[in-house]
């Protein structure tokens, strides 16, 4: 599945982008990622999704942790908080609890989210905090120049695994599904149009939405999750997949070798904000 099926002419593409209006969501700072990094596509898809949803820049807060992915807030023109390694979700939860009117988007990498920050994910998911968490998974620590991450495959050779990584990779989708995330989807940086549509749905979802974005690290991973390898491995979720069926979603999520793109699971249930409002009502009735 490749995204480029016909020639793209730069002039036409720029004209399209200008006319779409999504440039207002881009900051004046140029991204600092390596040429060819999949994260450029995520910035593009994010501005596209925000533009399609028509959300206001000033009502949006992007919270990030530490790592390549976490530089993201500097490249979009919203309010942003570049926080500490692994602490995207607690900070984002605080922002949302304090001001329900804000659109809160958490971004971070696989190390940030599943290594140091792994303890926060189940709690954000079970509380159903009304935020969107976009996890950029390149299976490596890029900003520290190439070490294994919790999603690195077994046998991967890096600076900290010179004799091959012996640990099993985590399965983030399976984790999020069992934690009780109310919206779980997967996208691929090599397919920006699909990515934009998934981001749009994730942001529109009322509750905790988790979008896992597969994205190659072109500088430090030449063998594992490359554009070539990912491009060959990915597939779409089966047409008959029922995204209300948690067990079906889990079965699909088990196939990490051939990751499927699309919406795995979705449910509507009260958010943390709803719960806090209920508590306010109960406290007043009890007085």
């Amino acid at each position: 599945m490749t995204s480029v099926t016909q020639p793209v002419y730069l002039e036409e593409k720029l004209e399209d982008i200008r006319e779409s209006g999504r440039l207002i969501y881009r900051s004046k700072a140029l991204p600092t990622w390596c040429p060819g990094c999949g994260y450029y596509a995520i910035v593009e898809a994010m501005t596209d999704a925000m533009n399609r949803l028509g959300i206001l820049s000033e009502d949006t807060v992007v919270v990030s942790g530490i790592g390549c992915a976490s530089r993201f807030p500097f490249f979009v023109d919203t309010y942003g908080f570049h926080t500490l390694h692994g602490r995207v979700l607690p900070v984002a939860t605080g922002v949302k609890v304090a001001n329900e009117a804000l659109n809160v988007i958490g971004v971070g990498g696989d190390g940030d989210g599943f290594a140091i920050g792994g303890g926060h994910i189940p709690h954000a998911a079970r509380r159903n905090v009304d935020i969107t968490y976009v996890l950029f998974d390149n299976g490596i620590y890029g900003l520290t120049k190439g070490q294994t991450s919790p999603t690195s495959v077994t046998g991967f050779e890096t600076g900290t695994s010179p004799y091959q990584n012996q640990d099993n990779p985590l399965n983030p989708l399976l984790m999020l599904l069992s934690y009780g995330a109310s919206w779980v989807g997967q996208a691929y940086a090599g397919n920006p149009h699909h990515l934009a549509s998934m981001l749009e749905q994730a942001i529109a979802h009322r509750g905790f939405s988790y979008l896992h974005v597969l994205s190659p690290c072109v500088t430090f991973d030449k063998t594992s999750k490359t554009y070539r390898n990912l491009g060959m491995a990915i597939r779409d979720l089966p047409d008959q997949h029922d995204n209300r069926d948690l067990m079906a979603a889990m079965i699909e999520a088990r196939h990490q070798e051939t990751p499927a793109l699309g919406l795995y699971y979705k449910e509507e249930r009260p958010t943390l904000g709803d719960g806090l409002k209920t508590i306010v009502e109960r406290s007043r009735n009890k007085e």
Binding site: G94, A98, H120
Partner: protein, 613 residues
């Protein structure tokens, strides 16, 4: 209210029992009733870390007509609800003090196991059948404690109605039959007490009623923190349970929703402060509360709040350490962590109240300061202060400024917004999410005035300077005591320099030393960071010798003082898990008075005069 009392009263009552005897509950009723009757009250309970280990509980309550600042080392009355636990405390009953105990133990006891065999000749024994009276008047022996407190009230001739009010309000959510049974037990004890030969204390026959009792509130340090938070307009609180800070969170969980606000229990302390900072970023007043182990986890986030210039308030109630240490014992050993604990040069504001009323003020002012100076503020308490009860008088007018934010002026919104603009007072106008055209990113990376990551030498120097300079204004923040001098004016022989909960003991020692003819002054330092250096130097100039008593091993405050003023002080440190003993401080004052060059006494529990454990 104090001036209306016809007699000078100073009585300390200790109730000792096993967990499950209702010891702490009895002390609670006693202190609330005496505060309602118009007395000054200071109370502090000791209890074991186990909920049901049948560990020892002691509730001490000092009831006075004059203002006092600490418990006395010796009590006037000891009530034993469990002889095995109470026997080691008989020695702390003052001469001509009373010991009240059950004369009919459940089973035959070996010689020496009954408390009556341990009384000193100068003690007055009051043996009454608590258990029998409880069983006769109620359905069982569980109300022994109520018989005992009723007896005490009768003995002292305190009107029973005051106690009835307190008991009824304490048990108002319980079935009426239970409250009735408790009142019956209390009255049965009361009748016994009235019929007994009275104690010869100087007690008014009729306790004066306060005219404005609504202003006098019996509260603990943690209660006062909660009240301060609410009056300062707290909007969000995120916390993780930890002794001795948990009750702040529990009380806020009750009160905050009533005001339409949010208390969220997070998965750990890192998450708690992270969420509080996230909420602070949106412009609302936000806080968390923890103890030393939690603060250790929060230090990285404190640094983020410092560099990203986000307001957040952190209440820290210290306990014995290091590590898990002694969760239910008091200590003042997290000063270093509070003042210095951060990566890089992460200076923040640290306030350490010295009494319950101070907890209220510091809590409220912490929100003003965090918002005004755009930084984290730590309010440093300890178990002794968190759990100690005092009758405090609170103003009915909310004293706290509800908005101290430096916002972005409207006419500036068309220019590119500099979140970290260098200004004359080093405070940058702060925009919050939702404000149009002022979108910006804040970061834990060093940054320029726009907030863009930048590690140039001049930028880092300028921003480091800004973050430190802006805090100096906190030393002149309106309506808060930064430091205060007590005792003799002018040149004195001994200066006592103190901080936090132990300042009450320091003041009591000061008054005793003055009584012995030693000229003596004391200074409490409430703001530990930034440090009121010039005030402390001025105080030290007036003292022939300066003694710094505190409850930790190294003398962390003495180190801080030494570093800030560049002079040496005499340390007096103890790590006993309980408040400092007034008489121990006094001994040190006398010693220093005789020989100002005397070396410090070693920090060894064996050297303390009497152990109050």
């Amino acid at each position: 209210m104090n001036q209306q009392l016809p007699f000078s009263t100073d009585i300390q009552i200790a109730i000792c029992g096993s967990a499950g005897d209702g010891t702490i509950a009895t002390g609670d009723i006693l202190k609330r009733a005496m505060a309602r009757a118009g007395y000054n009250v200071i109370a502090f309970d000791l209890y074991p870390p186990e909920i049901r280990g049948f560990g020892k509980c002691i509730a001490r309550t000092r009831i006075t007509s004059e203002q006092v600042y600490a418990l006395k080392p010796r009590s006037d009355v000891l009530i034993s609800l469990n002889d095995a636990y109470a026997i080691p405390h008989v020695h702390e009953v003052d001469d001509f003090g009373a010991v009240i105990y059950d004369d009919t133990p459940i089973a035959a006891v070996q010689e020496g196991e009954h408390i009556s065999g341990h009384l000193a000749p100068a003690h007055l024994p009051y043996a009454i059948p608590f258990r029998e009276i409880s069983e006769r008047t109620t359905s069982g022996a569980k109300s022994r404690n109520m018989v005992a407190v009723g007896y005490l009230a009768g003995l002292y001739g305190i009107p029973r109605e005051v106690f009835h009010d307190i008991i009824q309000s304490k048990f108002k959510t319980k079935p009426a039959a239970l409250t009735e049974s408790i009142l019956t037990a209390f009255d049965a004890g009361f009748v016994e007490g009235v019929a007994t030969f009275h104690l010869g204390f100087n007690v008014p026959s009729e306790a004066p009623q306060s005219d404005e009792k609504d202003d006098v509130i019996m509260m603990s340090g943690n209660d006062a923190v909660v009240r301060g938070c609410l009056d300062a307009g707290i909007k969000t609180f995120f916390g993780y349970p930890i002794t001795p800070a948990t009750s702040i969170m529990e009380k806020l969980a009750v009160e905050m929703p009533r005001q339409g606000n949010s208390m969220v229990q997070t998965e750990d302390e890192i998450s708690a402060i992270a969420a509080a900072i996230g909420a602070g970023f949106t412009g609302t007043r936000s806080a968390t509360a923890t103890s030393g182990p939690g603060l250790a986890l929060m230090t990285e986030m404190m640094g983020l709040a410092t560099i990203a210039e986000v307001p957040v308030v952190v209440f820290v109630s210290q306990r014995g350490g290091p590590s898990t240490g002694m969760p239910t014992k008091t200590e003042q050993s997290d000063l270093n962590l509070a003042v210095y604990g951060a990566t890089g040069d992460g200076q923040r504001i640290v306030l350490a109240p010295t009494n319950v009323e101070g907890c209220y003020w510091c809590a409220g002012k912490a929100f003003e300061m965090a918002e005004r100076y755009q930084c984290p503020v730590i309010v440093l308490l300890d178990l002794y202060l968190s759990n100690r009860y005092e009758a405090v008088v609170l103003s009915r007018i909310n004293p706290f400024d509800q908005d101290c934010n430096t916002g972005v002026p409207k006419h500036q919104t068309d220019k590119p917004y500099r979140r970290f603009e260098i200004t004359d007072d080093w405070l940058s106008p702060r925009a919050i999410p939702g404000e149009k055209g002022l979108q910006h990113v804040i970061t834990g990376l060093e940054h320029n005035e726009f907030g863009r990551p930048n590690d140039q030498a001049d930028v880092h120097a300028q921003m480091s300077h800004k973050r430190h300079q802006k805090l100096h204004a906190a030393l002149t923040h309106p309506d808060i005591t930064i430091c205060k001098r007590f005792g003799d004016t002018g040149q004195v022989q001994i200066g006592l320099l103190g901080w936090g909960s132990s300042f009450g003991e320091i003041l009591e020692a000061l008054f005793k030393a003055q009584g012995e003819g030693i000229t003596c002054a004391a200074m409490k330092v409430v703001m530990l960071s930034p440090f009121p250096t010039s005030e402390v130097i001025a105080f030290m100039d007036d003292c022939d010798a300066v003694l710094v008593p505190e409850l930790n091993y190294q003398g962390q405050f003495a180190n801080l003082v030494g570093a800030m003023v560049g002079r040496s002080v005499h340390r007096f440190t103890r790590v006993i898990g309980t408040p400092l003993h007034v008489d121990d401080i006094l001994v040190e004052v006398r010693r220093l008075c005789d020989d100002p060059t005397a070396p410090p006494t070693p920090v060894n529990p064996a050297t303390t005069q009497e152990k109050l454990t």
